[in-house]
């Protein structure tokens, strides 16, 4: 089949390029310092394509892990490989960052920007090629169902809409690693259901890591669960494991929540040696 009228091809060489790494995220004995103490201390984790739910109590090191994966923090020790690049060497941080999407826990923005301006600005910062920016921005808005609010100023948006704008800026560069730190905070139940289906859609081609306190979000939308406590991974399995464990646990309102508390209880009972 010949290309006609300069039409773009439906399948490009880039879209069928093979990946040359086994895991999008691979950490071995990772240690990250925040202030004086190690917030992440000896963490081992290998994540590929899919939606990975990151659970854990406050202060477990979830946000620190997110920040080091977003290349905002530097590891203090251990090995970290993102998309096959070794991060402490950081030879090619710029190329690596083009393939990462990140929604921080404290999502700050410029109130006078419209949603569309804000996402265009983020697309420029992420070095999305200039001619692709308008399409990428519309696609990102469409994905989070914010197209009709594209011209509203950021400061006029409700909490749920702000979160969605945050997700839109994270996905505008079609990242291979997508890091969402507590994206469901401030969403109403209906929006959370829509958000879960967005997560599942994103997770078919992308390594999505979602940190959350809502165990039911993880069970509903994630392909696997990572439970963190005191800077290391306590449990890494599928949501069904969590539900199954919940049959034995005592504290919690749903079987998944009971599974979560049961796992933490067992981990702490063995003195933190998993």
């Amino acid at each position: 089949m010949k290309r006609k009228y300069g039409m773009k091809k439906a399948i490009s060489a880039a879209s069928v390029a093979p990946t040359t790494y086994a895991w999008a995220i691979r950490a071995l004995d990772l240690r990250v310092r925040t202030g004086r103490h190690l917030a992440v201390n000896g963490l081992d984790l290998s994540l590929g394509v899919g939606v990975h739910g990151l659970l854990g109590p406050n202060g477990a090191g979830k946000t620190t892990l997110m920040r080091v994966l977003a290349t905002v923090l530097r590891p203090a020790g251990g090995d970290l490989e993102l998309l096959g690049h070794s991060v402490p060497e950081r030879l090619d941080l710029r190329t690596l960052r083009r393939s990462i999407g990140y929604l921080p826990q404290e999502f700050g923005f410029y109130g006078r920007f419209t949603v569309r301006e804000f996402i265009e600005y983020m697309a420029w910062l992420k070095e999305v090629p200039a001619r692709d920016v308008p399409d990428a921005v519309e696609r990102a808005l469409e994905r989070v169902r914010l197209t009709d609010r594209g011209n509203s100023r950021m400061k006029t948006l409700s909490g749920g809409m702000l979160r969605r704008a945050g997700v839109a800026q994270a996905v505008v560069n079609d990242p291979e690693i997508l890091l969402l730190d507590e994206p469901t905070v401030g969403l109403d139940p209906e929006q959370r259901v829509a958000f879960r289906s967005l997560l599942r859609e994103l997770g078919t081609h992308t390594c999505v890591l979602v940190s959350t306190h809502l165990v039911e979000d993880v069970v509903a939308a994630c392909t696997d669960v990572v439970l963190m406590d005191a800077g290391r991974v306590v449990f890494h399995g599928v949501p069904a494991d969590l539900v199954e464990l919940g049959q034995e646990g005592a504290v919690g309102d749903s079987s998944a929540e009971r599974g979560y508390t049961e796992l933490l209880r067992r981990h702490r009972a063995t003195g933190g040696v998993a």
Binding site: M1, K9, S12, A17, T71, R97, G108, E117, E127, N151
Partner: protein
């Protein structure tokens, strides 16, 4: 591998022909991993029906997309290209800087009207005048979007230099106007101003821009502004004799910045 895969073989591979010998199959896959042009061809040689269907859908979509008018953009308060150079954060800080220079000018003019013996406050302040703007070019404390921006590909020295450039473009003309009103030649303050800005950027690479600017500004007040006002004599650092020194400092710090440009990608 030098030769590309023949169209016939590629077609068989794409359609999943089981008759391809294992060694040939291995060679084809190894080649496809490396060769973008053969991957590009693989979309065309395989399943003709699917390729035609995809092309048809694409044409239809392109037509539908171009038929829908884009949402009417509202008037922007900053043109989109301007956001590549400044953040909304800059406006109050730059306004403060301009105000400070104007106040210094007021003092100079008032002092000049009385006796004219005091050193010019505009010249004394000139080297640190861009600092309010430079400090806010890259800061977690004042920039609400900092965490997000710091994780993007453009984060680093390039972005900081762009923003610093804007600060200088605003501050230098104001200083030039104020300087000419008090009769100070631009040569006396322009080089110290540039040298100090570059020093702040280099130091900011280590300790963060707000700390770097605050430290240098304190140093400048203690070593130059204070003594100059107390003794009522212009510091030797701001006379023509110090110019070669300032030029050398600017060149040296520029070299340091160039050498460390990659580490700046992790600026805090």
């Amino acid at each position: 591998m030098t030769a590309h895969i023949s169209t016939g073989l590629l077609g068989r591979y794409v359609t999943g022909d089981t008759g391809i010998a294992p060694d040939v199959l291995w060679a084809v896959e190894a080649h496809l991993e490396e060769c973008a042009s053969c991957r590009d061809r693989s979309a065309e040689v395989g399943d003709v029906d699917t390729a035609a269907l995809l092309a048809r859908v694409r044409t239809g979509l392109d037509a539908a997309v171009s038929a829908t008018a884009p949402a009417p953009g509202r008037r922007r308060w900053l043109p989109s290209r301007a956001t590549r150079w400044v953040t909304p954060l800059f406006v109050p800080w730059l306004a403060t800087t301009v105000l400070v220079v104007l106040v210094a000018l007021g003092f100079d003019l008032a002092a000049g009207a009385r006796n004219g013996a005091l050193p010019s406050l505009v010249v004394l302040l000139a080297p640190v005048a861009p600092f309010l703007g430079v400090a806010t070019a890259w800061t977690r404390r004042f920039d609400p979007a900092h965490e997000m921006v710091a994780a993007t590909a453009r984060a680093g020295l390039g972005l900081v230099l762009r923003r610093t450039f804007v600060v200088l473009v605003v501050v230098i003309p104001v200083l030039a106007a104020a300087g000419s009103l008090v009769g100070a030649s631009p040569a006396r303050w322009l080089l110290p101003c540039l040298a100090f800005t570059m020093c702040a950027l280099a130091l900011g690479d280590l300790v963060g821009l707000p700390r770097a600017t605050a430290g240098l500004a304190l140093l400048w007040v203690a070593v130059v502004i204070g003594p100059s006002i107390v003794t009522a004599r212009m510091s030797v650092l701001l006379t023509e004799t110090a110019l070669p020194g300032w030029a050398a400092l600017t060149a040296l710090v520029t070299l340091v910045l160039i050498a460390r440009r990659n580490s700046a990608a992790e600026l805090r």
